[in-house]
Subunit: 294 residues, 2 copies
């Protein structure tokens, strides 16, 4: 798959930027920065930063700007994984085939590393180098905070934690996932539009794309949780079923879930109609999201 290669190349670029941002100081607090670096550089598909850059590219945004925002988004994603893996949360010892941050370091360091990654993401967005217009920087901060907060990512994680005790149907699961993973994906796309000073219609089209992409992504994740093997997926599989949690697959069944993911990927691409060939990267990504094996 061509996009797979493009993502690999992009991964090397974004990792270099992340590596530069998380510079270890000399003092005893170096341990905190080591844990942040570990959490962020542990691998992953770099889907979110890729979305930022691919969206920003459509509006001719300089890479020096969009890569900063991309790094900030990946830091927020990494922070959420570090905290989600904690024993008091999802209690996962394994992340991307490696010890989770709290296993590699310790729980306290993991909590602080997550906190600090989240904080640094906002520092980067508000930094003068991100955009010459303060209005753009401020809008980026505001949109990220909305996406990552109680009406978005952390709210979704709260609902997810309570899901074991509740009977969730399709509308509830859809809402949960739109908050838990969809909101940050949507921000990644919107960030490109904010950086590019796009029109309201363009921003809305990207929001629609990201919303459908996020759901397709999550359904595929649920399918991989059932069908994948731990070695390929890089984390414990079958855990949702074991925990008795409702997922798209447990509600829809494997076949309908697969159809639904494909339908959402097509629908995501349809939002991009007016961008023409400029949106080819994002279209390819929508296909990739439902075809990936990990």
């Amino acid at each position: 798959m061509a996009l797979s290669k493009a993502l690999d190349a992009f991964t090397a670029e974004i990792d270099a930027v992340l590596d530069e941002f998380i510079e270890s100081p000399d003092g005893p607090e170096a341990r905190l920065f080591e844990a942040m670096r570990y959490a962020v550089l542990l691998g992953g598909k770099r889907l979110r930063p890729y979305l930022v850059v691919a969206s920003a590219d459509m509006f001719g945004v300089r890479r020096a700007c969009s890569m900063r925002v991309a790094a900030a988004v990946e830091m927020v994603h990494a922070y959420s994984l570090v905290h989600d893996d904690l024993p008091c949360m999802d209690d996962d010892d394994l992340r991307r085939g490696h010890p989770a941050t709290h296993k590699k370091f310790d729980e306290a360091t993991a909590v602080l590393a997550g906190d600090t990654l989240l904080t640094q993401a906002f520092e980067i967005l508000a930094g003068h180098e991100t955009h010459e217009m303060a209005e753009v920087r401020s809008d980026l901060v505001h949109a990220l905070a909305l996406a990552a907060g109680g009406h978005g990512m952390t709210g979704g994680q709260m609902i997810d934690l309570l899901a074991e005790d509740q009977t969730f149907e399709l509308p509830q699961i859809t809402r949960l996932q739109a908050m838990k993973t969809g909101a940050l994906l949507a921000f990644a796309c919107e960030a490109g539009a904010i950086l590019g000073r796009a029109s309201g219609a363009q921003r809305m089209a990207l929001h629609g794309y990201a919303h459908d992409l996020g759901l397709a992504f999550q359904i595929k994740d649920d399918l991989l949780d059932i069908e994948g093997d731990a070695a390929t997926v890089g984390k414990r599989v079958g855990k949702d079923a074991a925990a008795g949690k409702a997922t798209f697959v447990s509600i829809l069944g494997v076949e309908r879930a697969r159809q639904q993911a494909q339908m959402l990927a097509d629908q995501a691409a349809a939002h991009l109609h007016d961008f023409g060939a400029d949106a080819d990267q994002l279209r390819a990504l929508a296909r990739f999201v439902v075809e990936r094996e990990s």
Copy 2:
């Protein structure tokens, strides 16, 4: 003490603002907002938001603006306490005489509530209502992120966690506290200057004031930890000594620590010389910090 009454009155005002910001939604994520509300409205001296407003008042900033920033700073302070109290961190069951957030709710909810308070603080700062100039909003975000991040508050907490295994002398303890508590106090004062578009010299004077105030505050905290009783202080006392942690008091002894706190409070006030009577609130606060009994 007159300031004590002023602080009580201010507490009612800032609590009303915080209460309004943390609005509970209808969904199952309501639990997250309940925990945030609990953590923030549990009490406390409201020293940081008071510093924001007192500093901003000197530059004639509208209260509608400064109270928003004050609320954001208190949210960051509350988040840091919620995470610090976790079993994997300082393991405190009691906070201000009440169950810590992870005891009242559970650990997972406490982690998420802290994360969400931090996130919302940035949302508030970047909100249009905070200041009509985007440059000011962006500067506030950047300065808060620096103060709360790895070179500030969380870095200080990391060092503090490692302090039990290390021999700390006065310079190390001073650096630790300047990061762990001083940085956010300094931001509180600088925020007033940023909102008020103060000159560089004014901003520096406030930074110097806050730095000395922060250290005086911490030495007084260490003294209360030795001398206070749990009922008045509202948290477990004597815990630093029990943990074998170096503190200002263990290094300097009670008498020299008391003198040092007083000297720092005087020095803090001296930074305010050029502000004349406008800085009377801040001068009173410097006295209050070393004279308080809790």
